[in-house]
């Protein structure tokens, strides 16, 4: 995959003077807010329930735009691909979806959590 530019920041034009970048933590909602303000189509994915071993707790978020540029996370990287694919449909039709991932769902989804946990992710369009 191509290296994505840092979330929510356009690459500076060649020769541009770059202001010292404020050192800050990644704020997924603020980035999604910025993307929306730029007129981009955005979906938000939120971890709503976890069972067993999970790298990201309930409330963790991922924002993705229609070009699959994304920030944040809903797992240790195991299910982000599938969530982003689903988010493309959500951006298209506007219908929120509640996705289940876990070791028992390997037939329904071609991804699972290696750590053996289960996770439920709510995906919705930012309107």
């Amino acid at each position: 995959m191509k290296e994505a530019p840092s979330p929510g920041r356009a690459a500076p034009a060649a020769g541009a003077v770059v202001a010292p970048r404020k050192f800050e933590t990644e704020d997924v909602l603020a980035i999604a807010h910025g993307w929306k303000a730029e007129g981009r189509k955005v979906a938000l994915a939120t971890v709503v329930t976890t069972w067993g071993s999970n790298p990201r707790p309930a409330g963790s978020m991922l924002a993705v735009d229609a070009n699959t540029q994304f920030c944040g996370s809903v797992s240790g990287g195991c299910i982000e691909g599938a969530v982003i694919r689903e988010a493309m449909d959500v951006i298209e039709d506007g219908t929120p979806r509640l996705l289940d991932f876990g070791v028992t769902d390997t037939q329904a989804w071609d991804v699972g959590l290696a750590c053996g946990g289960k996770v439920q992710v709510y995906v919705e369009r930012l309107d």
Binding site: F23, T25, A58, G59, Y122, E124
Partner: protein, 245 residues
């Protein structure tokens, strides 16, 4: 989620106002709940309050389906006494871990924007700064100057607060002298032992960045001990050699 709800959450976060986003997972309906601003008793408000106090998003089942309560608390805070070398990596690492960091040092040569780009630096005296900052149960205080004239006034204020972590740099010998001073100032031995010293987890840290890792790790452990999610606090000195190397 509609734009106005997102606008409001972003605004509340900027203002440091705790807010809980209640989302009905069946209907997709969103409601913003302000857990500490109303006293009425409703199951949703009470569940939102509990989630906010525990700083843990959770689901609750009501007559109209399952609601997911997503907590947006103001960030945890870290107050660093001393704009010293260790504070430079520690401040940056703490910001990455989600802390709002304030660096306190009345010595203007240390407390410069150049040394701490993008961070909040104050040159108030530590006791004045601490009194203004009002540390609470979501605040960590770390004294790093090595100088009792600067560290002690901050520690005196910290010990009267609910700060979940208080640490002070210095050897065991330095810490013993600190104990004498704190007891002389009227604190009990138990209260004094809230100060973690020598500061940080034992990982053999030497460089400023390594010491920053050890301090931040200890802060994180203290936070999760407090919330009960740390099952067995673990000291690196008890790890098998293979994991330490």
């Amino acid at each position: 989620m509609d734009r106005s709800t997102l606008d409001q959450i972003v605004q509340d976060k900027a203002a440091g106002r705790p807010v809980v986003l209640a989302k009905n997972l069946a209907s997709g309906h969103n409601v913003l709940v302000y857990p500490f601003e109303k006293t009425e008793r409703s199951p949703l408000l009470e569940a939102a309050r509990e989630a906010a106090v525990n700083d843990r998003s959770a689901s609750v089942t009501a007559a109209d389906g399952t609601w997911f309560l997503q907590v947006f608390n103001p960030p945890l805070r870290m107050i660093l006494i001393g704009a010293v070398h260790i504070s430079q990596p520690l401040a940056r690492m703490a910001v990455m871990a989600g802390y709002a960091v304030t660096i306190v040092d009345p010595r203007r040569a240390f407390a410069t924007e150049d040394r701490f780009p993008g961070l909040t630096v104050t040159t108030d005296w530590p006791d004045e700064a601490m009194t203004k900052l009002k540390p609470n149960r979501r605040t960590a205080v770390v004294a790093l100057t090595h100088d009792p004239k600067l560290d002690d006034p901050a520690l005196l204020v910290a010990l009267k607060s609910d700060a979940f972590y208080i640490g002070a740099l210095g050897s065991s010998k330095t810490h013993a002298k600190r104990k004498d001073r704190m007891l002389a100032a009227g604190f009990s031995e138990a209260t004094f032992h809230r100060i973690r010293g020598p500061v940080g987890l034992k990982i053999g840290a030497r460089s400023p960045a390594e010491i920053a890792v050890s301090v931040l790790a200890e802060v994180i452990a203290a936070l999760h001990e407090q919330s009960g999610s740390l099952v067995a606090p673990r000291d690196a000195s008890t790890l098998p050699e293979s994991q330490v190397a």
